[in-house]
């Protein structure tokens, strides 16, 4: 275990870097936490939902009369009652969905468990009694369940031409790329099918909503940021005039699920507005497993070409995810492609990426939502190493970007300045004797024991801010009370992250006070300021920076005041142990509380122009992105008789910059690794052919238990980042790097029996592994139907710039257009001016106006370039085909590939 490293100038640290006991723990250990279900208000009533038993169909009728007549029932609401609010089910990026999503199902249902009606009753039990009395008549339709169904089946949402929710990249391989791939010494193909996962925080979703008069709405809700909820609810429910207060003191885990409310929470809030009494809805585990947003389900095919020595030459990826019917973001996970090869010397990469709608529960985020990139890359590299005949360490040494290779820019345009996966790997190997293990492995095999070594490296973007609407800086407000006690209000929020501890450590160090004297408040949108909370491994990086800068400003004010009071110069003042000292004059030392009392109560004694009180606030804006790097290794034993996997050892070597609290950092990595082990070996949310979720309890959805998780060893390989304080985010890494580390170890253990199947389908159940060991298919008819590799399928949709239609096309004038971007569809008005075949014009969108010129018109086909500055400098190449009053085509967005454009003439 190394000593924590601090960047230059951060000064002496008494708390930063220490395993300080958490401030949250005494309350949580003694049952005094305050979770949403612990809230009880006078007059509060309870809610339950009636839900769809079918995956796809039209609602013919809903009869709520029996439920309404039941004693103890106060109201039953359907979408007809909620429709006039016109609630918009916004994404995390606050964009509206492109298909109709209503809080309760209106005229149709599109997944099993979709809420249809909400019952308000005296108790939850009574609400459930009444919900079971609601009768619904359906016209049932065949559901679209799998990705294969989605590609071949009818569109599940009215008004769409197919089930593609988002698409980017190019279907045809670029000639040069194809030539490199096909001409390489080694071309390795790899496919991963990732199962659907339930985030499964131990506390299910829940909300208590109370309308206080016409102008106030207070919500207690389990979430990742009360500020984010307040903003989302204001915009989504169209309540700009309402004072919305969101409180979430303790949250029982989230992992991406609780980024923002979804259909149930919105229904309850609207019902509370309608009914006028406080309402509570606490999701039960059956609801949580079957009708909370889920995550991960995706397939990817990756090709990578290597030269004879194993150096990477080029690569192509084809990705598709099953977004379900009502996803929180109908995206195509572009981040998979952006970060796939970011840590490697990869000269050329191209991709095709699609998201699909199906009649299943919609997806939401989960710890490292783009993690498939690390899983497929790292498992492909091991496969390639075996094929080329080199060691897994060696193939990484030959291809990883080292500190010497930086600064540089990845082939996808990602700037690399201080990533250290290669350095993490070398440090890891100092702590793991691979040569000795190989000997042990050979000896064990002779005894019929199959040991395997797995290695993986990765980088992860953390602490993102400034390039997307909700990804902001973080705010710290710190005051020294007149008593000398320090109180901080942070925009951060903990769902187990321990930010009240880590932020207090920083503030105590920077102010020179005892950790015990610092209290951190968060979890209330009425305090502090906006932040998206725990989203994208950001709070340590950005919240930490905010705590440092605000504390430094406050310390400077203390020094100014003390210098004035004590007739010394500010440079001679230090604060230590809650005392203010003057260099060389120990008799002048004063308690911080004394200075504070004067600052508040005796403004006449302050320096001229000095504001009374000791309170500051600072919003820290970090660099746009801070990379975390890591290398992990594990050793497994696979029982060749049963296909059971036992993890014998696991070592993490990570660079997360300055470590504020090693116990918190290791806790984050360990939690992510446990989730990784669950994804590889145990967890799966299967659906039957009718779209019924098959894991409705924890007896069927297998979460890792203590016996499934080994003891993790930590080698901290930290280098300070460029963010203030030098922190790098550490929240998601374990869940990203864990899966390939474990899969590689299993593949290594089973290498005497051959390669894992060409398609790596998670989870690796005993049945699947025994199939490899026995060299025959034991999965029988429980195996999923083979899915056609999409890369091999010719695109069904016509090229956008196909033959021009006959006749004159009028392009001149204004057009309503939609560009499908990675963050969701973006609407704009484009006005064209035509002179001969020369095209110029203007884009108008909520983000602003931009003009362009130099375009060409040829038989209804218009091509032009648009240079944009935000969110980054990029040239957008539009290629549009006009036909009557409609237009369609593509926009090439540099490294992001292509996005679809469609539109109609503005009337």
């Amino acid at each position: 275990m190394n000593a924590p490293q601090l960047p230059q100038g951060l000064g002496a640290a008494r708390y930063i870097g220490q395993r300080v006991l958490r401030k949250e723990d005494p309350r949580l250990l003694t049952g005094r936490g305050q979770f949403v279900d612990d809230i009880s208000l006078p007059g509060m009533l309870h809610c339950a939902f009636a839900r769809s038993p079918i995956a796809r169909g039209n609602i013919v009728s809903i009869d709520t009369s029996a439920a309404k007549d039941m004693p103890g029932v106060h109201a039953v609401y359907t979408q007809a009652d909620l429709a006039h609010f016109n609630a918009q089910m916004l994404s995390f990026f606050l964009l509206p969905p492109e298909v109709e999503i209503t809080p309760l199902a209106g005229s149709r249902v599109c997944y099993v468990g979709e809420p249809l009606a909400l019952v308000v009753a005296d108790s939850r039990a009574l609400a459930e009694d009444a919900a079971s009395l609601i009768e619904v008549e359906y016209e049932e339709l065949d559901p679209v369940v799998t990705l294969a169904d989605a590609r071949a089946g009818p569109p599940i949402h009215p008004g769409t031409s197919d089930n593609v929710s988002a698409e980017m990249g190019d279907e045809e391989l670029d000639d040069d790329l194809a030539a490199t791939l096909n001409g390489a010494a080694h071309l390795v193909m790899h496919k991963v099918v990732h199962q659907r996962i339930s985030q499964a925080p131990m506390e299910c979703r829940g909300v208590v909503a109370t309308r206080d008069g016409n102008e106030e709405l207070t919500l207690w809700i389990t979430c990742q940021s009360p500020h984010m909820i307040a903003r989302w609810v204001s915009l989504s429910l169209g309540l700009p005039q309402t004072a919305i207060r969101v409180i979430a003191k303790d949250v029982g885990g989230s992992f991406g699920l609780k980024n923002h409310p979804w259909k149930e929470e919105v229904s309850v809030i609207l019902a509370a507005l309608l009914f006028g009494r406080p309402l509570k809805w606490i999701e039960d585990r059956y609801e949580a497993l079957t009708t909370s947003n889920q995550c991960r389900e995706a397939e990817m095919t990756l090709q990578a070409a290597f030269d004879a020595e194993g150096h990477l030459l080029a690569s192509h990826g084809d990705y598709a995810c099953n977004n379900g019917a009502n996803p929180q973001g109908p995206d195509n996970n572009i981040a998979v492609h952006m970060f796939l090869w970011a840590a490697y010397k990869m000269p050329a990469y191209a991709f095709l990426t699609r998201g699909y709608y199906t009649n299943t529960m919609g997806l939401a985020a989960y710890r490292g939502p783009w993690a498939l990139e690390s899983l497929i890359r790292e498992t492909l590299l091991d496969k390639a190493a075996r094929k080329i005949g080199i060691d897994p360490v060696e193939i990484r040494r030959r291809n990883l970007v080292t500190l010497k290779d930086q600064p540089s820019v990845s082939s996808m345009g990602i700037p690399r300045e201080d990533i250290t996966p290669a350095e993490c790997m070398e440090k890891l190997l100092q702590h793991f004797d691979l040569a000795a293990f190989r000997k042990e492995q050979v000896a064990a095999r002779a005894e019929g024991r199959y040991l395997g070594f797995g290695l993986a490296t990765y980088v992860e973007p953390t602490g993102s801010a400034g390039s997307m609407p909700v990804m902001t800086g973080e705010l710290a407000q710190i005051r020294i009370e007149p008593t000398g006690k320090v109180t901080a209000t942070m925009s951060t929020h903990s769902q187990g992250h321990g930010t009240a501890t880590t932020m207090a450590q920083i503030i105590a160090d920077r102010l020179g006070v005892a950790y015990e004297d610092v209290t951190v408040f968060e979890g209330d949108s009425a305090r502090g300021g906006f932040s998206p909370g725990a989203a994208g491994s950001r709070q340590g990086v950005i919240g930490g920076g905010a705590a440092i800068s605000a504390a430094d400003l406050l310390a400077a004010k203390v020094k100014t005041i003390a210098a004035h009071l004590l007739n010394a110069s500010a440079e001679t003042i230090t604060i230590n142990g809650g005392m203010v000292h003057v260099a060389g004059a120990p008799e002048m030392s004063r308690k911080l509380g004394e200075i504070a009392a004067i600052a508040y109560g005796e403004p006449d004694r302050l320096p001229p122009g000095c504001e009374s009180g000791l309170e500051v606030q600072h919003r820290y804006q970090p660099p746009p992105m801070t990379f975390t790097s890591a290398a992990h290794a594990c050793v497994v034993e696979v029982d060749a008789e049963t296909g059971f996997v036992k993890i014998l050892r696991w070592i993490s070597s990570e660079d997360c910059g300055t470590v504020i609290n090693p116990a918190v950092v290791e806790g984050q990595i360990s939690g992510g690794l446990a989730q990784a082990i669950g994804m590889v070996l145990l967890e799966e949310m299967p659906f039957d052919a009718r779209g019924n979720p098959l894991a409705a309890t924890f007896k069927d959805y297998l979460l890792p238990a203590i016996s499934d998780i080994p003891e993790f060893e930590f080698v901290h390989a930290n280098t300070p980042s460029q963010a203030l304080g030098g922190m790098r985010g550490v929240g998601e890494g374990g869940a990203i790097i864990g899966p390939p580390t474990l899969v590689n170890a299993i593949a290594d253990a089973l290498s005497p029996f051959g390669e894992l199947p060409d398609t790596l389908a998670l989870p690796l159940t005993p049945t699947k592994l025994l199939s490899v060991i026995e060299g025959r298919d034991l999965t029988a008819h429980s195996a999923p139907a083979p899915v056609v590799v999409s890369a091999d399928v010719p695109a069904s949709e016509p090229a956008p710039a196909a033959a021009a239609p006959a006749g004159e096309v009028r392009v001149e004038g204004a057009w309503d257009m939609v560009l499908k971007t990675p963050m969701g569809p973006q609407g704009m008005v484009v006005t064209f001016a035509i002179v001969g075949s020369a095209v110029s014009g203007r884009f108008d969108s909520p983000e602003g106006t931009q003009e362009f010129s130099g375009g060409t018109l040829e038989e209804g086909r218009v091509r032009f370039d648009l240079k944009v500055e935000k969110p980054m400098k990029i040239t957008l190449k539009y290629d549009l085909q006009f036909d009557g009053d409609s237009v369609s085509g593509k926009c090439k967005m540099g490294m992001f590939g292509s996005a679809k454009v469609s539109g109609t003439r503005k009337v």
């Binding site: 108790s123 009694d129 026995e774 034991l778």
Partner: protein
Amino acid sequence: MKPAPFDYVAPTSVEEACKVLAEAGGGATVLAGGQTLMPLLNLRMSQPFVLVDINKIPELSGISRSENGIRIGAATRQCDALSNALLAAELPVLVEALRHVGHHQTRNRGTVGGSITLGEPAAEQPACAVALGASIEIASVRGRRSVAATEFYVGPFMTVLEPDELVTGITFPHWPSGHITLFRELAQRPGDFALVGMVGALALEGGSITRAGLGWFGMGGTPIRARAAEAALLGQALDSVNADAIAELALSECAPFDDHHASAEYRRTVGRRLFAKALREALTVREAA
């Protein structure tokens, strides 16, 4: 997840309990430890009109020895059975099996009779009852009867128990002191139902097998007794047993199924292996002793 409404009664005698069951006309459900019933109630998969709590009936608790065998009262808690000296001495394999039932916290409440009566095909205790030749005591207002465990189970979670009947106890026949025990279970996590499991006992006289009780769990719609394998073992000397052949025979009586935790073919493949290994190791240990 709150239960549908029901009435609750807690009779203090078997007669009283049987009367309630009879009067309920099939609308009553017996509550023993509740570790399986309560989840079903909470999920509203079970919606009885009346719940008959048998925890206050003294006759139903306790473990005793008689000429006929070892009797375990139906409402005896699993944790009490686990620490029972009589069971440890006379039916060690049952104790071994009990360690795999649920978790510490559910064993503190769950009962032996509850698990036996439920008939989960992948559970340990029903398989013990079937393999070791136990009989199930049943009471109703119509009288008392006893059913061999092998006749008790008719399908997944289905038994010959009538709606007005109450299981009062399970009697395991005596197995001679020093009998060989076999137990193997493969589950993904501790407390999970078995993917594959087997249990058994072998009695010896003069170095040959004189009595065999062998059973499977998780290998079909009910706990399964491996009668052909038992028959083949009888009379054999320990060193002449072909464990693989016996396992193959035992497997022939199974009908495992696919679910999303394991395939039928997996269960067959590993079951055969597990069975043979358990037998081989038990015989080797005994031979060496």
